[in-house]
Amino acid sequence: MALEARTIKVDYLARVEGEGALYVRFRDGTLEDVRLTIFEPPRFFEALLRGRKPGEAPDITARICGICPVAYQMSAVHAMETAAGVTLGGAIRDLRRLIYCGEWIESHVLHIYMLHAPDFLGLPDAVQLARTHGDIVRRGLRLKKAGNALIECIGGRAIHPVNVRVGGFYRAPSREALRAMLPELEWAREAALETVRFVATLPMPTIEQDYEFVALRHATEYPFNEGRIVSSKGLDIAPHQWPDVFEEFQVRHSTALHARVKDRGNYLTGPLARYSLNFDRLPAHIQQAARDAGLGPVCRNPFQSIIVRAIEVLFACDEALRIIAAYEEPEPSFLPVDLRDAIGHAATEAPRGLLYQRYRIGDDGLIAEARIVPPTSQNQASIEQDLWTVAAGGQGMADADLRARCEQSIRNHDPCISCATHFLDLRVERA
């Protein structure tokens, strides 16, 4: 029989997805599957880094994220310095904490005011919040600007800092340049305290999750660049042991890698983990501000992460003021770091959580291997776990309400995709 071509009319609209997709399936009213897919740019950059000079790593990795370039730079320079056996102290170390303060402020404030607060207030986005609560949004914008200004002053540029280098800084900012920022940072500290009070008034769903928290812990400080990697289930390791204890694995529904503690499972990094593992490292008046906002020393409610972020903004303003008051220009502004046939690891605390990088430098002095594990991929499995909890209670909800609740739950952990205001491509299947 001769086959004839048949035309089947379909008329199906395929939409361009955002940077994230969520698939939820109910069967007979019971939640059966939850899959979250998040696009991860670092894989591309790992390939890009191979064959480049170690000194290029801070510049290349800064391109991975426009919101947290400093975090990528900090993990890169510390990994290279560890490979060379160089430890930096004094004013260079302080400047690195200071530039990180700037990034925590701008990144957390962006998240609190532009993305997360509208969720709690039932508004579609920050533009609506600006229409109804103009003064609140203006305070957020000015506070964010203070963080960006700090990054710009030390990093040379706010968007893609160029002044950070392996071994220190190309040029150290002058004492006067930093002191000129003091009045705005004094204002910022007050605004941060008002932010804590504001987010404490938001209607807060009450769920408690049994996370394994993972964060850096330092002997005396609330952590940015240094410390051991500890967890709420007893881990206590040096950053170079990361690959011995954690593993990345491919999941069936995503090209992204997830991470877990070997032989144990999901874990959570980020503000909740940092705060809960390091509450005793916060200055007493900030601990008090946290208590006044309704937080205990450990916080397992992911929705309350908005309060924890506000506390960390307050801490970052406070720490920035302290560092600037004591600052003297380092001389020289960097130390030479010679690298050949070496391996280095580092983990630092990005606003979104632990950011681990590992480099192998070959005999030719070029990068032979690069591995970058951002907080978002480490948190994906825990975010899915939250979504199971939230979606299981949302069986009777309309898709639009379920979407809003799921988006809010994902935004609790500020994954990189939440840069996109309402990114989520939600598919609900009910069988």
């Binding site: 086959l3 071509a5 048949r6 035309t7 089947i8 009319k9 379909v10 008329d11 199906y12 609209l13 395929a14 939409r15 361009v16 997805e17 940077e19 997709a21 696009f39």
Partner: protein, 86 residues
């Protein structure tokens, strides 16, 4: 990446249509490209060739209708209009 995801979605639909119609080979696919969909016919064909390789629609021809209307409600999307089976 956007393009890859969209193509994946589209391929799933094409394959399910072909299966539902008896599983014949797909020889032609007719699509409507929204004005804000990121695709030109050439770029779409290139992505389709990659996405369809080894599937029931491998080596199928693409016919694209390009919309210029940026205010069309589906301007950001790609519409699968029809599938021609052998």
């Amino acid at each position: 990446m956007h393009e890859h995801r969209l193509m994946r979605d589209l391929m799933q639909r094409i394959e399910s249509v072909a299966r539902a119609e008896g599983g014949g080979r797909v020889i032609r696919v007719h699509v409507w490209l929204g004005a804000l969909s990121h695709f030109t016919p050439d770029h779409f064909a290139e992505h389709f060739t990659d996405a369809s390789a080894g599937t029931i629609a491998g080596s199928a021809e693409t016919v694209c209708e390009v919309s210029r209307d940026v205010r069309h409600p589906d301007a950001q999307g790609v519409r699968l209009v029809s599938v021609e089976l052998e």
